[in-house]
């Protein structure tokens, strides 16, 4: 009798325990689902927000950054800020800067990276010139004063890596026919994405902007080979002899090429 009672009791207890556990687990599963969806949406990263120097790739960064703000505190120029909840910025609490407001001044000792306790800002970055926060892109040639033939050149002058990350390329001004256009030209391999050019652009809306590399850059197909580079590497032409394809001129029919050597353009 007492045995029966005991087993009855314990099975009731077990049933209650299992019921409680199942309920809690389901509650947690619901919360986990919402949280997973929310974090996926929070990964959207606006193009004008730039991570501090040394930041890991966005995916890795979100797993490494504990959102403590130490990098923000050690930034001597108040460039960095933490994203606030409800802002249409990066994930809440993570550090970023807006180049147009305050660009990165590229401190030689990189204090923001040194302050990071988790390595979300990679401590192996020791030379700030190797930083890769993004790439400056001259995004609007129609409004850029230099492209219009004027000599503004502010973006070029303020670049910490002047003549390396950005140059002025001289081309004929076809509008006047007698002047030059000095077009600001960014070299993506050298550009650190500090944003000094974007900040200093004199237009109401900058003609040159720092964009994340994923947006700014194309990618060459893996199988492409540039003939002239291969030739330089090999020291000689890869195919011996002169390659001259036959000129394919249409047969009879009164064909007259538009361009005729010696006569100039029509």
């Amino acid at each position: 009798m007492s045995d029966l009672k005991k087993t009855g009791l314990s099975s009731a207890k077990r049933r209650q325990f299992l019921g409680d556990a199942a309920r809690t687990a389901c509650g947690c599963a619901v919360a986990a689902t919402f949280l997973t969806v929310y974090q996926a949406q929070a990964k959207a990263f606006p193009a004008d927000a730039i991570r501090p120097p040394g930041a890991l790739s966005e995916e890795e960064f979100l797993s490494a950054c504990v959102r403590c703000g130490l990098c923000v505190r050690d930034c001597p120029y108040d460039t960095l800020k933490l994203a606030e909840l409800g802002e249409t910025g990066p994930a809440t609490g993570t550090p970023y800067f807006t180049a147009r407001d305050v660009p990165c001044e590229m401190c030689e000792d990189i204090p923001c990276v040194a302050a990071c306790p988790t390595g979300a800002l990679d401590h192996s970055l020791t030379d700030i010139d190797d930083a890769d926060m993004g790439v400056a892109v001259l995004i609007d040639q129609e409004n850029c004063l230099n492209f219009l033939g004027l000599r503004c050149e502010v973006c070029y002058r303020v670049c910490p890596l002047i003549d390396e990350a950005i140059t002025l390329e001289m081309t004929p001004n076809t509008r006047t026919g007698s002047h030059a256009v000095f077009s600001p030209t960014v070299y993506a391999d050298v550009c650190t994405g500090c944003g000094k050019c974007e900040q200093s652009c004199v237009l109401p809306e900058a003609a040159i902007k720092v964009l994340p590399r994923r947006i700014a850059r194309a990618e060459s197909a893996e199988h492409y080979r540039l003939g002239w580079e291969e030739k330089a590497k090999a020291g000689n032409a890869l195919v011996p002899g002169v390659i001259d394809l036959p000129d394919r001129v249409p047969d009879a029919g009164g064909f007259e090429p538009v361009f005729q050597p010696g006569k100039g353009r029509p």
Binding site: C28, L70, E87, G119
Partner: protein, 309 residues
């Protein structure tokens, strides 16, 4: 049955001064304010004593402190932190494990002020205790946050963690973080008595795990003087921790050994008969009954409370 209904509001001679009846509350508020002030002295007054947030901080450029729950989330995503982060966690874990794990919850965490206020309002409005999650729920929530972090590869819980949202908001700028704080306040006031800190917060759960062997304990060493007025049960944020110590008989330890105890000292504050006091975990001494007549034990009350567990 709730302790609430049992609170008979027996008129009692309040012989002790207001300060004495709130001494640990005042000390805790001072501690919470002082710690917040240390973080704010930099941005507000240029006095850079502590930088960062409670998540991870640097004191006087020499002492790194990092929250174990935060670093745990980072590590389950597969990221190995820098040495300063690891040292910071070692110091924090060492301190709380030795002195008292949940000291963080009642003496440091800014959210404690919010949930204490919510509970104060809850008592004033004489509300029912509402939804009471099971006692292991906080560990389920902890496991859930870590699983989501591991699964999504990001610190997903930090997008909603009211504790870090509030502290970061105070130190760096609030944004809409006040909404998260307000939600916890309303939840604790109207939905669930002691709901957040006492049942759900995974951060508190981690500090609770550090609390199993720590030194600082509240002892009901004068339990023979208890007159069952229930004042301590009324204010305790982790109500289940008191009974084993207070209702213990004979050789039962008077120490509150349950790891959920936040060592807030509120029971010491409110007890007119000085039943409780702070001590260390090896002090199991009981105060021998003195001239004070032990209050009559009302068997109905004792039974209704769950009695001697």
């Amino acid at each position: 049955m709730t302790t609430h209904a049992l609170d008979a509001h027996v008129p009692k001679e309040k012989k002790r001064s207001w300060v004495l009846r709130n001494r640990f509350l005042l000390l805790r508020r001072s501690s919470q304010l002082l710690i917040l002030a240390l973080f704010l002295a930099g941005p507000w007054a240029g006095l850079w004593i502590v930088k960062g947030t409670l998540t991870s901080s640097m004191t006087l450029d020499i002492l790194p402190l990092t929250d174990p729950f935060l670093l745990l989330q980072t590590m389950v995503t597969g990221h190995w932190p820098e040495l300063t982060g690891l040292i910071g966690v070692a110091i924090v874990v060492g301190f709380y494990a030795v002195f008292g794990g949940r000291l963080y919850c009642s003496w440091v965490c800014p959210m404690n002020v919010v949930t204490d206020s919510a509970n104060w309002l809850h008592r004033k409005l004489d509300l029912k205790k509402g939804w009471q999650p099971k006692k292991h729920t906080r560990y389920w929530v902890l496991a859930m946050t870590l699983l989501v972090a591991a699964g999504s590869g990001s610190l997903a819980y930090e997008l909603v963690n009211p504790v870090t949202l509030l502290h970061r908001g105070l130190v760096f700028g609030m944004g809409f973080a006040w909404a998260a704080v307000l939600m916890v306040f309303l939840f604790d006031t109207f939905v669930s008595r002691h709901g957040w800190c006492g049942h759900l917060c995974p951060m508190g759960a981690v500090y609770g795990l550090l609390n199993t062997k720590s030194l600082l304990r509240v002892s009901a060493n004068n339990r023979d003087a208890c007159d069952d007025c229930m004042d301590c049960f009324e204010v305790c944020p982790e109500i289940h921790v008191i009974s084993p110590a207070l209702r213990g008989k004979g050789d039962d330890t008077p120490l509150i050994v349950n790891r959920d105890c936040t060592s807030c000292g509120r029971c010491i504050d409110v007890c007119d008969l000085d039943v409780f006091s702070f001590t260390h975990r090896f002090d199991t001494q009981l105060i021998q009954p003195t001239s004070i007549e032990p209050g009559p034990r009302d068997p109905v009350t004792t039974k209704a409370m769950g009695g001697h567990k």
